[in-house]
Point group: C2
């Protein structure tokens, strides 16, 4: 996607960015601000990244709600005169973020998001436009929400009818029609996995995590069986199986990981039975590989997209809003 022309250095959670002489081409600043992470990019008129940086200044680390100080420390040197528009997305617009914005209902794409930006001018005169998250109600009327993923999807520019999976703490399966999100389904996979691994009887055997693609694949198959039903029983059987000597206790963590991801995939298949093409995996390298392996076990075609599409999405939305 965009090429990086300079480096960012991150030390001890402090975000610092080196600047090059491309500064004169700069047209906007993108900020992807999550619960535990902060990333920012300086972009030119084509959305190419001139400079970027990331750090651990996630929302949880901001004290006294002093978001501005954290932001300025990261991007101030790029634009001391506050002349560039800043586009921010992610959990920064949630209840625990800087500005809480209402969810936009699906279907929604870059143009809709551009029309729903929330503007803020800081005390020092910096103009920030916040991209809001999306909500969706399934046919039963049950609600779902996302914040940040909509901007990543906007950055991918996928054409046609596609299904994307965005693995993580709260994985998202997203139906996309010509770049617009028409429906999505979240699964508490990563969050539940960590809780079950460390805070149930399974912790007795998940403390030592021995990598094992075979054990992972076995877990995926078990999780996906019965259309993903029976999870509470399957979880206990990961304890029983180790007690009965069916598999080494050291395999439990990999089996549990596979079980959860296999369950998630089976749940999502009933969500999008009509999508044909390969599932687009949008995630960090390690997690994308794990989901790719799980989809392989289940014979589901897939391809991998860059996890860092957020800046491209911000550029697309800013362009649609006439900010660049």
């Amino acid at each position: 996607m965009q090429g990086d022309r300079s480096c960012a250095s991150v030390q001890g959670g402090e975000t610092t960015m080196r600047r090059g002489d491309e500064m004169t081409d700069a047209r906007m600043i993108g900020v992807d601000w999550g619960t535990t992470s902060f990333r920012a990019a300086l972009m030119d008129r084509d959305g190419a990244i001139l400079d970027h940086g990331s750090g651990r200044d996630g929302l949880l680390s901001v004290t006294d709600r002093d978001f501005e100080t954290v932001l300025e420390r990261a991007i101030g040197r790029w634009d001391p005169s506050c002349g560039l528009p800043v586009i921010a997305s992610g959990m920064v617009t949630s209840r625990t973020g800087w500005v809480e914005t209402p969810y936009l209902a699906c279907p929604a794409g870059p143009d809709d998001l551009a029309g729903a930006l929330t503007a803020l001018t800081t005390a020092r005169g910096r103009h920030i436009a916040f991209v809001t998250g999306l909500s969706y109600r399934n046919p039963d009327g049950a609600p779902d929400v996302m914040r940040g993923e909509e901007t990543q999807i906007a950055g991918l520019g996928l054409a046609g009818l596609r299904l994307a999976v965005m693995p993580g703490t709260h994985s998202k399966w997203v139906r996309i029609a010509d770049g617009r999100i028409t429906a999505f389904r979240s699964a508490m996979t990563g969050d539940a996995f960590a809780a079950l691994k460390d805070h149930t009887v399974l912790k007795l055997t998940t403390a030592d995590w021995t990598p094992s693609p075979t054990a992972f694949a076995a877990g995926v198959a078990i999780g996906a069986a019965e259309g993903g039903a029976g999870l509470l029983g399957k979880l206990f059987r990961q304890r029983a199986g180790s007690l009965m000597g069916d598999f080494p206790a050291s395999e439990t963590a990999e089996r549990l990981s596979g079980l959860m991801i296999g369950t998630e995939i089976a749940e999502a298949r009933s969500f999008a039975p009509d999508v044909d093409g390969p599932v687009v995996i949008v995630g960090g390298e390690a997690l994308a590989a794990r989901y790719g392996a799980a989809l392989d076990v289940l014979g589901i075609a897939h391809e991998t997209a860059p996890a860092s599409a957020a800046f491209a999405g911000q550029f697309r939305i800013a362009t649609a809003a006439g900010l660049v």
Copy 2:
């Protein structure tokens, strides 16, 4: 079931028992020793309880594997001369217990358990017979285990083909044919509930637990929908629903409780589709009431059995073994 002729007093986790003049009728001592609880009963030739006590001397609290000291502190005064047989059941026969015994395969009932007792004579000459747990493999060959519940079921003396649910950390659904356990299915309901409630994003709204039968019933219906499938998505929607204002955040804990129990019940129905009569709930009062309410929501007939059937089961097994 048995009548209690005297009282036990428990203070600060220390087990103390008052003795009456029925001591001369005593024929056996039953010990129900779990991970976090210890209960003991002195019984006569008919299995009636002459004296009993309970305390917090669960297996986890035993240091240096000095199980004998804990046992003697509880029952020594009943039988200082070590003349009575002691029958012990529960997690005391697990890997982390006093004597690890191999699981007995289903089908199994009181006679089978009597034939599989493990004898131990302590240094001071007390004779203990340990009741072992059961294993079961479902039609797919997947394993399941129980320790302690088999003795409770033996104590119920259920005739005909019945289905019992034993709610708890690791709930058990048990098929019983004329008193013998023919199959069972565990679900990690209570264990997973606690982990999810306290260690995922749901903890943000489960900290304040406001009792609400309506919210609980809503959770049960959601959990049981789709045959119990879709749990990872349903979990996230308990967060999304509170964010979208569909229900007050204070209802989240009740909804989560209902969701987990509803899921467990739906999972178990596919396990025992051929059992007609009311489901027998075997559990402590509060949990039995909660499961009864959940079964009501789903229109499933049920009845409640005493949770403390363990001593009756021990007596039945001891009798079958010729120890009384």
